[in-house]
């Protein structure tokens, strides 16, 4: 997780964990510069641009 970056501006992300076991299961990554949230679901950060997300 520590080398994750915003796919748009490549800047740092703010991690917010909602569920964690030995790894982060659910949460969000937030880019302050782009004002964009990236969800973490089932342990996988979804770093797709919003228009390609399901």
């Amino acid at each position: 997780m520590d080398i994750l970056a915003c796919p748009i501006c490549k800047g740092d992300l703010e991690l917010n964990v909602t569920e964690e076991t030995d790894e982060i299961i659910t949460g969000t990554l937030y880019c302050g510069k782009c004002d964009e949230y990236y969800p973490i679901e089932d342990g996988i950060p979804n770093m797709l641009p919003p228009d390609l997300r399901e």
Binding site: A5, P7, K10, D42, I44, N46, M47, L48, L52
Partner: protein, 252 residues
Amino acid sequence: MKNEKEIKQFVKDRYASIASNEDSCCSCCNCNTGIVEHAKSIGYSEAEIRNIPDGAVMGLGCGNPTALAELKAGETVLDLGSGGGVDVFLAAQKVGENGNVIGVDMTSEMLEKARENVKVGNYKNVEFRAGEIENLPVEDNSIDVVISNCVVNLSPDKLATYKEVFRVLKPDGRVLISDIVTEGELPEDIRQSFDSWTECIAGALETQEYLDTITKAGFRDVTIVAKHPFCEPGMDDRLAGKITSIQVQAYK
């Protein structure tokens, strides 16, 4: 030229259906000989296939990038278009517990499959992210080696992809990428076909154009380290001799 967004959606849908087994025969798989035989034909050894979870080997790809990448213990590796995770898991064994392997894929069905395989294989040094290879969700100068297996040809913007790869690599970092290139003109109807794009043909560049794209992205010492003719049962006769699988190495 096709609309980039349309291409992406088409590729995403096709590989989602392959991951869900709705699409029994993919571009890069030979249904008659089976997935394991096909994997061996593109460069995997029997031992490699037996040492990773069954579900990771999907018969996709056109080479075995980790076999040629000379991965060292402790390295951080990024796999573009990681699919079921086959090359991520092979790399994970090579870089060991102090190394780390990250798989990026834009298809959620593939990522779910990869995650199941992580549990089966109990891997501790791998992670998967949903992302685009043209906009990698990875910090600058953070990766030792980028690998990829028959994926960059699917991208509608290969220069953007290689520029992103260059950005995330550490200085002197390297790529070892298996991909499809073409020789000579392809029939127009094939170039224009979405199906052919998802089968790794219509989006493939000519060899020199492909190498020039990597150089243009900033890389040095761009070298083809292995190549072989790529041919599939059922492939259009007009493509005979025009499709090649190459393994490319380059340095930042």
